[in-house]
């Protein structure tokens, strides 16, 4: 191991499957994180969030009574949320497009499909640390900017006010 420790960083793992939860916790400990807290669903996670104020959250999608998407909504939008900007990595086996889009629209920072590897998890954390994205408030949405890159070949539809240019075709 690198021997580095991060005594001041706090992580929260939200996962109902005990095996996966333990695995994720072990991977964060392997990084040198000392303060890794756990919750088994979104409801309990929100309590831990308020008590421990994590710097990083890893969450599953499917959990009861509150799933990862609703939890993310709460973190981003609730007036009780201690840090609506906290990075959230959603780690799930749900790779169906509609679920990935739901996670994105809830405001997750990164999405990681299971099965996980140490390298893939670390790459997501690198992305968060190295290239933090602006936060956007647009209509109902509050979360990291969903436009990750400018695509010169994209021709709309344009939804934001500031998208309007002289040659913008309105749809």
């Amino acid at each position: 191991m690198s021997g580095a420790t991060f005594d001041n960083l706090v992580a929260l793992v939200v996962e109902d499957n005990v095996h996966m939860r333990t695995l994720l916790r072990s991977l964060l400990l392997a990084l040198g994180m000392k303060n890794v807290f756990e919750a088994t669903n979104g409801e309990d996670a929100f309590v831990v969030l308020r008590e421990r104020k994590p710097d990083l959250i890893l969450t599953d999608l499917s959990m009861k009574p509150i799933d990862g998407i609703e939890f993310t909504h709460e973190v981003r939008s609730s007036h009780k949320s201690p840090n609506p900007y906290v990075p959230i990595i959603m780690i799930t086996g749900h790779t169906e497009r509609h679920r990935v889009e739901a996670a994105r629209d809830a405001g997750v920072t990164e999405f990681l499909a299971k099965p996980i590897t140490a390298q893939n998890l670390f790459l997501r954390i690198v992305e968060i640390v190295e290239r933090p994205r602006p936060f956007v408030r647009a209509g109902e949405y509050f979360g990291p900017d969903r436009r990750r890159r400018a695509d010169e070949n994209y021709h709309g539809p344009w939804r934001r006010y500031e998208d309007i240019r002289d040659d913008t075709e309105i749809r």
């Binding site: 690198s2 991977l27 099965p115 956007v136 934001r160």
Partner: protein
């Protein structure tokens, strides 16, 4: 009575997006970020973290077998939502348990059940059974990462694609 004219030709109301750049909202402190990046990019850390997963493989394999038993039980009761839940757990755990083909087949089953549910159609029991048998065989095989496991997964993926195409066709006709 006159029909109301559609307003679909009118531009949709645009939303003014407020952007909050990193730094204005709290991000990792520069010192922590630099140290974290050093550790995260360290090949030795990555290799040793990968060993953490390898060390859990046996425990995860047992968990996968337990989920397979529950999934079979749910299938016997024709509880397809429960079959989906168990298959979902299997696809999540199997890869880390060294059961790649098992996870792949479970993922195909999830894709099938999800699409059928969204289309409001009942899953075909024979399609579900084929997957259950393949998942159980792959999970119990001594050398799971065989060409046979991959071949079965490819065949099932093709079958599911065909079934989903049929559903789409019947929905559009």
């Amino acid at each position: 009575m006159t029909a109301r004219k559609s307003d679909s030709h009118l531009p949709r109301k645009r939303q003014r997006a407020a952007k909050i750049p990193p730094g204005v909202y709290p991000v990792f402190a520069a010192k922590d970020a630099a140290r974290l990046l050093r550790v995260l990019n360290d090949p030795q850390t990555i290799a040793e973290a990968a060993l953490v997963i390898v060390g859990k493989a046996e425990e995860l394999r047992t968990a996968v077998i337990n989920h397979i038993e529950r999934m079979d039980d749910a299938a016997r009761r024709s509880s397809f939502s429960e079959v989906f839940d168990q298959a979902h757990e299997i696809r999540g755990l199997a890869g880390c348990a060294g059961l790649a083909a098992t996870g792949r087949i479970a993922n195909i089953l999830c894709k099938y059940l999800d699409a059928m549910g969204r289309a409001g159609a009942l899953p075909e029991p024979s399609v579900v059974t084929l997957h259950l048998v393949a998942i159980a065989r792959a999970a119990h095989a001594e050398d799971e990462a065989t060409r046979l496991g991959d071949t079965v997964a490819n065949e099932l993926a093709a079958l599911v694609d065909k079934k989903l195409a049929e559903i789409n066709d019947s929905a559009t006709h």
